[in-house]
C-alpha cells in the first residue's frame, strides 16, 4: 500500500522569504508524485508533477520540487513567497495506470507581511 506523510501541518513564513514544504512517501512500486494547491473555498489545482526523467520538476507560480528516490521524498520549494501563496498544499502519490491518488494530510502555508 502507498502512503504519504507531510511532515508539517502548518508553515508560517514572511513575505519574500524562501519556503520548503516536506513530503515523504512509501510505495513498493514505481510512483508518480504530485503537488496540489487548494486556495480558500476552491478546488484542488495541480502545481507540478513528477512522472519520470529529470528529478527536478518546475511547476506553476514559481514552485519547484525534487524527487529523491533514495530518501523517498518530494519536497516542494519556492525561493521567494508572496501573500497570494497562502493556501493549503497537498502532496500525492499515484502509480502507473492512471489510478487513484493517495494524498497527504496537507500543509497550511501562511504568509506574513
Amino acid at each position: 500500500a502507498q502512503s504519504v506523510t507531510q511532515l508539517d501541518s502548518q508553515v508560517p513564513v514572511f513575505e519574500e522569504a524562501p519556503v520548503e514544504l516536506r513530503c515523504n512517501y512509501s510505495s513498493s512500486v514505481s510512483v508518480y508524485l504530485f503537488w496540489y494547491v487548494q486556495y480558500p473555498n476552491q478546488g484542488l489545482q495541480l502545481l507540478l508533477k513528477y512522472l519520470s526523467g529529470s528529478t527536478l520538476v518546475k511547476g506553476i507560480n514559481g514552485f519547484e520540487a525534487e524527487f529523491n528516490k533514495s530518501q523517498t521524498s518530494f519536497h516542494l520549494r519556492k525561493p521567494s513567497v508572496h501573500i497570494s501563496d497562502t493556501a493549503e498544499y497537498f502532496c500525492a502519490v499515484g502509480n502507473q495506470g492512471a489510478q487513484k491518488l493517495v494524498f497527504g494530510q496537507g500543509t497550511r502555508l501562511t504568509i506574513n507581511p
Binding site: G43, K49, A98, G104
Partner: protein, 113 residues
C-alpha cells in the same frame, strides 16, 4: 474548455435521508474519480471509473455508498441513510485514462444535520 463541474455546490440534509451528488467530467476524459475530504484532512479515494465500469471501488466506506456512470460521462454518487459522519466535501476528478494527471472539480460540501 470547460473543467470538471459538480452539482450541487452545497447540500444540507437530515440524518437518515438519501442524497445524490453529480459530477460532469471534462469532455473526452474516460477516467473519473470520487474522493472525500473531511475537515482538516487530505482527500481520500472512494471510487474510480474507467468508462462505464467501476475499476476500483475499494475506498467506498460501506454499502450505503454507491456510484454510477451509465454512459461513461456524467457520474452520480449516491449515499443512503446519511449519517452525521458523512459530512465532508466530496470531490470529483477526471483524467484521459492514460495520463496520471487528474483534474479536480470544485467539490460538493455535504452537511448532514
Amino acid at each position: 474548455g470547460a473543467g470538471v463541474s459538480q452539482t450541487p455546490s452545497n447540500k444540507v440534509t437530515e440524518k437518515g435521508k438519501y442524497v445524490e451528488l453529480r459530477c460532469d467530467p471534462i469532455s473526452g476524459h474516460t477516467a473519473l474519480y470520487w474522493y472525500r475530504q473531511s475537515l482538516g484532512q487530505g482527500p481520500e479515494f472512494l471510487i474510480y471509473f474507467q468508462g462505464t465500469g467501476a475499476a476500483d471501488d475499494s475506498g467506498l466506506p460501506n454499502d450505503r455508498f454507491f456510484a454510477v456512470r451509465p454512459e461513461g460521462s456524467v457520474s452520480t454518487l449516491k449515499i443512503q441513510r446519511t449519517e452525521r459522519g458523512d459530512s465532508a466535501v466530496y470531490l470529483c476528478a477526471s483524467s484521459t485514462g492514460t495520463s496520471a494527471e487528474q483534474y479536480f472539480g470544485p467539490g460538493t460540501r455535504l452537511t448532514v444535520t
